[in-house]
């Protein structure tokens, strides 16, 4: 007590110094990060650009990549021309975010994709409040990307302390010029970066018109299931009893669901997210694991069941059978999280 009494003025002084210098500075930095993040996720709504983007996705022991020339006319017009990989060379995509035309000169065909019912969220602004509720946005040092000065932002989970994403934001336009996503073990799961970009370019509207050139035929591209937020009715419409997860990682909530018929199989999908990360839970009554490419999958234990786990196109996927149903989880999750979610499902 005596010692404490002797030292208390010192600690009091230290606390005052912290409160007057360090705490406000940290608060300002955190606020700067949040402000910059908000500006960054909405920047392409008001800034047009033209550039070359290289994307790399890591899948187990190998990687896949695309190189694309992107022309964007704010707020929602896109023209993407792929120069790599070889199977996409020459493919052109023109989109207004609701409707996408994919031009395949090699086949003289134009494929159309309608996203209005599939992914209505793509037209909605990013829910920054949810991201901020689950992640701290830390400002990093400035560096150069594609010859432009950027500020890096790190998004760190408030629940696990794990770094989930880093973005490099153009100081002038606030566009995201580089992005890295991280797995739970800290390794990079995907990254994309502009090799060159011209910001604020004036692009003619005609460049983005959804037209079919003469000699080419318009056909429907693959369609994906319509989503709904009315998940109660969705569950009632199923011909099997949906088993919900009793555990979700911190910050995750149910966002929407859909039912798709494929090869005569009705599969229900529920999408969960925490603002930044997402995963889908699929259930159907086949009791069959999906087909994986040879050598692609490895065993995984989900509760008492044995299933298969793989990384496909940059997504973790795990599947197992229980109670006559097949369960498949796809998304930005670690194997530990998948096992825990899966074990909480009791069909």
């Amino acid at each position: 007590m005596h010692r404490l009494h002797n030292f208390s003025p010192f600690f009091l002084l230290l606390a005052c110094a912290w409160l007057t210098v360090v705490a406000p500075a940290a608060a300002v930095a955190a606020n700067d990060g949040r402000v910059l993040y908000t500006q960054a996720v909405g920047a392409d709504d008001s800034v047009s650009y033209s550039g070359t983007l290289t994307s790399v996705v890591y899948e187990g022991d190998h990687a896949a990549s695309t190189v694309a020339r992107i022309e964007h006319k704010a707020p929602n017009r896109w023209r993407i021309w792929y120069v790599a990989p070889a199977d996409a060379y020459g493919r052109m995509i023109v989109s207004n975010e609701s409707l996408t035309y994919r031009y395949e000169p090699s086949r003289n065909r134009v494929y159309s994709y309608d996203w209005r019912n599939t992914a209505p969220g793509i037209l909605a602004p990013v829910d920054v409040a949810r991201v901020e509720a689950n992640y701290s946005v830390d400002t990093g040092p400035t560096s150069s990307v594609a010859g432009r000065t950027t500020t890096s932002l790190s998004l760190v989970s408030k629940h696990t302390g794990a770094l989930v994403q880093r973005i490099w934001v153009d100081k002038q336009s606030k566009l995201i010029l580089r992005r890295e996503n991280y797995m739970a073990d800290g390794s990079v799961s995907a990254k994309s970066s502009f090799d060159g970009i011209r910001v604020g370019v004036s692009l003619p509207q005609d460049l983005f018109s959804l037209t079919v050139p003469s000699g080419m035929t318009l056909v429907s591209g693959a369609s994906y299931a319509k989503t709904t937020t009315n998940t109660n009715d969705l569950v009632k419409s199923l011909d099997f009893k949906f088993a919900p997860p009793n555990y979700l990682p911190n910050g995750f909530i149910l966002e929407r669901g859909s039912v798709a018929a494929h090869d005569g199989v009705n599969t229900v999908e529920f999408v969960y997210g925490d603002g930044l990360r997402t995963f889908s839970l699929f259930e159907n009554a086949t009791g069959q694991l999906p087909r994986f490419n040879e050598g692609e999958s490895e065993p995984i234990d989900i509760g008492a069941a044995s299933g298969k786990y793989a990384e496909v196109s940059g997504q973790a996927i795990a599947s197992w059978n229980a109670g006559g149903l097949n369960f498949t989880i796809v998304g930005d999750l670690s194997t530990k999280e998948i096992s825990k979610i899966g074990a909480s499902i009791h069909p």
Partner: protein, 162 residues
Amino acid sequence: MTCQHCRELMTDYQRRELDAAADAAVYEHLQSCTDCREEMAANSALTESLRAVFATELEMPTSILAGVRQAVRRERTFGFVPNLRALLRPAIFAPAAAALVLMAGVASYVGNNSAGNAPQLSADYFVRQHVAHTMNSQSGDRAWNAYLLTSNVGDNANAPAP
């Protein structure tokens, strides 16, 4: 020619697929437009370097070409016996026989399994559905997602529930 028109034709120009008049018009525009010239140079450099890495062009062996030409030139013969002999040639008969055997096999499989075994979906199907339904996620990459969702092996394969 406008810059916009030039850029629309640029890919075809690079591949030498334009007719003479359009080719000349693009060439002329490139001589006078620095922006389009730079765009063209950037595209060409990138395309060539990627082609060198990714593309492998294989020429058909001359012996096969010669054989094809020879077969095309061969005179047709008429009459029942020569026609029957032609039908029974391995090149025609073998694939036809194989197709018949395959059809019989498929019919037998369907007959035996349609009641008990449910179809098996692919892992790729689940991944595509997930990506399509989370395109608005901030962790996504527009160019990669668009590549993935428009690289369908069988378009129209993922029909939504009615």
